[in-house]
């Protein structure tokens, strides 16, 4: 059983997806989805434990030995990402039940859960596989279901947002296919480990840099790296609350993981940074994302959109860490992957609670919620503080490592810009907080605190924000080891 964990991670949710559609009853399909997410989470925990205590796992699908067969390969890096994706799914699904019943028509709910599990399956698949073409297949599974999920938002702008995401996402995915094809034509293999061995000999050939460029741009589209982020704000803003909470904390994170995998494992840090000088592109773009997207966030009248812009800025932090190409830097990027999932998960779920009771997430709609929905807004405040990076929250840990990594290389202007980003976060978070706590409630006073089934999962993430901010030994330790694995330096 235990040696089959890597494939069970993907296959069980994949089978659960049609089941959720077949049972046809909303509650029952929710149960199927929830169990699938719990299963995935359990497997991810077991995998991480195994990887940390024993070492990387290589699983051969259908017992075909790599490089001919597809290999699923789990090491510190993707075990951590699997944990993030499945963990967020396991927290979001209990939350989904009430929220989805309110936002989606009854007969569509089973299909909604099918798409949600498919999306999770795709993301898990991207993370677990060691085969580059398999990455593309799972990427499309997750993306296609994500387009459908986003389109189910109540606002009609959700449709155009989904359409825009579909166009840009497909272009990104196609770029990735081109890159994969060019690599295949030069090396004759699709296995990541095999590619890593064969590529160095081909570096001089111009095809490899072209493949690298196509892959980087394609993945950057998927991870919404500034200025390729245009699809993201509307998609996050108008999707159903559950979808936003799930996708915002997982989809872009998995794309960041893809970047890590291709840049460090497949092409290798030496080629990516010394030959291609990818840091010369990534660092300025990441810094631009941090500064400009934080500034854009300040001017958003819709809180979900505001948080979406903030997400683009936060992706800048992750990419910045990666572009530093040092153990501390990459670890900071990986750490922020996890931490930002917790932060944005909590914040978007709090906004889902507001949506459930107030029916709007525009800033004016927050008026007086500090009094009428005290627990929801308290969750938002703590999540916001974590986003800013106040000590004893996860956001602080990320910034700590990132700034240290920048200083280590003597890049103090970078360190300053990272901290400036934090200050801009203060402004956009505080804008919401001020309206919630200083304005009188509007309406007839019928607004009540959100139901427990929404509040509890939200608070689970909020408390995780504090827990992993106070005791970050586990997350920081895994991130450092993952970074060492990626950079190929001894632990």
């Amino acid at each position: 059983m235990s040696q089959h964990l890597p494939v069970l991670q993907v296959v069980v949710p994949l089978l659960a997806a049609p089941l959720a559609a077949l049972v046809r009853r909303p509650r029952l399909s929710w149960l199927v989805a929830f169990l699938a997410a719990l299963w995935a989470f359990g497997v991810a925990v077991a995998l991480l434990h195994h990887v940390l205590s024993v070492g990387p796992i290589s699983y051969h699908i259908g017992d075909w030995a790599p490089p001919w067969g597809i290999e699923y390969r789990v090491d510190q890096v993707n075990a951590f990402v699997l944990l993030i994706v499945s963990g967020i799914a396991a927290v979001v699904l209990p939350y989904a039940r009430a929220s989805v019943e309110w936002e989606i028509e009854n007969e569509r709910i089973p299909l909604f859960y099918t798409a949600l599990i498919l999306c999770m399956t795709g993301l898990l698949g991207i993370s677990v596989t060691g085969d580059v073409f398999n990455v593309f297949v799972f990427l499309e599974i997750s993306s296609l279901s994500a387009y459908a999920l986003i389109a189910m938002g109540q606002d009609r702008r959700a449709l155009t947002a989904a359409y825009q995401y579909l166009i840009m996402g497909s272009v990104g995915a196609t770029f990735i296919v081109i890159g994969i094809g060019l690599m295949y034509v030069m090396t004759g293999t699709l296995n990541m480990a095999d590619l890593a061995q064969r590529l160095p000999a081909m570096e001089a050939n111009r095809t490899i840099p072209v493949a690298f460029a196509f892959l980087t741009v394609g993945i950057s589209l998927k991870l919404a790296l500034f200025p390729l982020h245009l699809w993201l704000p509307n998609a996050y803003a108008y999707a159903p609350s559950t979808v936003t909470s799930f996708i915002a904390s997982t989809a872009t994170k998995v794309a960041v993981y893809m970047l890590l995998r291709f840049v460090f494992t497949v092409f290798g840090a030496a080629f990516s940074f010394d030959v291609m000088n990818i840091d010369r592109i990534l660092t300025p773009l990441a810094l631009a994302a941090i500064v400009f997207m934080s500034l854009s966030a300040i001017y958003q009248p819709n809180v979900k959109r505001l948080l979406a812009y903030s997400s683009v800025a936060q992706i800048g932090y992750m990419v910045l860490g990666i572009s530093l190409a040092s153990v501390f830097g990459v670890a900071a990027g990986i750490l922020h992957l996890f931490n930002h999932a917790l932060i944005k998960g909590a914040l978007f779920m709090a906004m889902g609670c507001v949506m459930y009771r107030v029916g709007s997430v525009r800033i004016e709609a927050m008026a007086g919620l500090g009094r009428t929905m005290p627990f929801t807004m308290a969750a938002f405040v703590i999540g916001g503080l974590s986003l800013i990076g106040v000590p004893l929250t996860v956001g602080f840990i990320s910034k700590l490592y990132l700034v240290r990594a920048a200083l280590e290389q003597g890049m103090w202007p970078v360190a300053v810009l990272v901290l400036v980003g934090s200050l801009l976060a203060v402004i956009y978070v505080w804008k919401v907080v001020e309206v919630a706590y200083f304005r009188q409630p509007i309406g007839d006073g019928s607004i009540r605190e959100a139901p427990l089934s929404l509040l509890l999962p939200t608070w689970v993430l909020v408390l995780a924000n504090i827990w992993f901010g106070v005791d970050a030994k586990l997350t920081a330790g895994v991130a450092i080891r993952a970074a060492q694995t990626l950079l190929g330096v001894g632990s």
Binding site: I388, L392, L400, R404, L407, S422, V470, K473, A476
Partner: protein
């Protein structure tokens, strides 16, 4: 109880107090009782640490290792103990004062007020007993956030604007400069622990360390070195007890305390003395001393004048730290205590006048001394302490600061101290002088309707005024404690 437990208890007790306040919110008398009892228990706890610390022990307690090499931990050392003693004692007195003030002034949301007050004290205790820069920074930021609801207590547009300035300056300086400095220190020294003699010696060039020092001095926005002082006058929209305890004692002292700690335990006086930036920063502090005094002259609003006086006095302590010699540290450390008692008395006085007469402008306080003799008598004593003349405690700290400037060979800095004392004398004593000798202002309600503020408030300001005088007669305990920081 072992001393280590006491250290943890000192931080935990105010949190328990806050919980009690929230639980007892429906019964105001029980609620205020809880605050007072917690305050007394806290003071007793901190006093319990005095013996062990004086005998040379440094009881410490590590809560959790956050990431490898960074611990959330506490340690009692003389300077922190002094800060904790002052803050916890004055918390009890301020609570007493608050009862009279908040009820006499019919303030709303009193439960929230007392709860956040307790949270703030817990943060201040955390700052005082922090064992490393990380812990200090965590509680420093917690203190900013816990005092925000107190500053914006009235919820008005004015309070909201002031809250923005408050949070804006304190967070900007702490995140952009102080955090940068802390992480840089971590990267250079590999540790953030406070150690006698410092941790930075020999880790980087003098130029780098100079930059680092500047980042610390300006990054500790709570020390209000110009140009990052605007938050303190802004914070004056808060109810007076907040201004009195937090913005004359806990918050601002947390700032200068941080600078003293960084000077002694992170840089070390030996390193500090050799840096090129040290004298320049000392002059920045000196400029703040003079400029803030000059601005104080122009303020007719009593609390605003006191705020600028605080800015000026805080820079005395910053200056003391930057003199980088034993007398400077002793003078600066003692000034934490001396200024606290003096300034809180002044704020209590201002609040008492507000409650009794609803007057906030100095120019309208003529003749009030005759109807409120205790209040203005105490105000007079407090003012003497700030000026630094006998028979008030402030005389001692200024004496040692003066010695420090001489030892550093900075005769001009001594001149600055003298000039500033002179300025302080004029702008502070103007208030009791008008009250006692001026004629009642025209257009104000007849004098008969006015009498002293409610008794708890009057009692509180009497206690602090008497304490100011006692500190002049018996400065020994304070001196002994502070001199443990810089052994000969």
């Amino acid at each position: 109880m072992t001393p280590s437990v006491l250290v943890g208890l000192a931080v935990a007790l105010p949190l328990v107090g806050a919980g009690l306040v929230l639980a007892l919110g429906k019964w105001p008398n029980a609620r205020e009782g809880a605050t007072l009892v917690t305050g007394v228990a806290l003071f007793a706890t901190v006093m319990g640490l005095l013996g062990p610390v004086r005998s040379g022990l440094r009881p410490s307690l590590t809560l959790v290792e956050v990431v490898p090499g960074l611990k959330l931990g506490f340690q009692a050392e003389p300077l922190g103990l002094l800060f904790a003693l002052v803050a916890s004692f004055l918390w009890v007195v301020t609570s007493l004062y608050s009862i009279g003030y908040m009820r006499g002034h019919h303030e709303e949301h009193q439960t929230r007020f007392y709860a956040f007050f307790a949270f703030s004290i817990a943060s201040a205790m955390g700052v005082a007993f922090s064992a490393n820069l990380f812990t200090l920074f965590a509680f420093y930021e917690a203190l900013t956030l816990c005092t925000f609801p107190l500053v914006t207590h009235h919820g008005t547009e004015e309070a909201r604007k002031a809250g923005r300035v408050y949070l804006g300056i304190l967070l900007t300086t702490s995140v952009a400069f102080q955090l940068l400095a802390i992480i840089w220190t971590w990267q250079l020294a590999g540790t953030l622990d406070f150690r006698p003699g410092g941790i930075l010696a020999g880790t980087a060039s003098k130029g780098v360390l100079s930059v680092l020092l500047a980042l610390f001095v300006f990054g500790v926005g709570k020390a209000a070195v110009m140009p990052f002082h605007r938050w303190l006058p802004a914070a004056m929209v808060a109810p007076t007890p907040v201004s009195a305890l937090l913005h004359a004692v806990a918050v601002v002292k947390a700032g200068v305390f941080t600078i003293l700690k960084v000077s002694v335990y992170v840089f070390g006086l030996d390193v500090l003395g050799t840096l090129a930036a040290t004298p320049w920063l000392a002059w920045a502090a000196a400029a703040t001393i003079i400029l803030a005094s000059l601005v104080a002259f122009t303020k007719d609003n009593l609390k605003a004048r006191l705020a600028y006086s605080t800015i000026s006095q805080l820079s005395y302590i910053v200056l003391g730290a930057l003199l980088a010699n034993r007398w400077g540290i002793i003078g600066g450390g003692m000034h934490i205590a001396m200024h606290a008692f003096g300034k809180i008395t002044l704020f209590f006085g201002a609040g008492a006048v507000l409650v009794a007469t609803h007057e906030t402008e100095i120019s309208r306080m003529h003749g009030l001394g005759r109807t409120m003799p205790i209040t203005f008598g105490a105000f007079f004593v407090g003012a003497l302490s700030i000026v630094g003349v006998p028979p008030a405690g402030g005389a001692w700290s200024k004496w040692f600061l003066g010695l420090g400037t001489l030892e550093a060979g900075q005769i001009w800095l001594l001149a600055v101290l003298m000039l500033s004392s002179l300025l302080t004398l004029v702008y502070l004593l103007e208030v009791p002088a008008r009250a006692f000798f001026g004629k009642p202002a025209e257009g104000r309600a007849p004098v008969e309707g006015i009498h002293e503020a409610p008794w708890p408030s009057v009692l509180a300001l009497t206690i602090t005024a008497v304490a100011t005088v006692i500190l002049f007669v018996h400065p020994g305990p304070v001196f002994d404690l502070v001199s443990l920081v810089v052994p000969k």
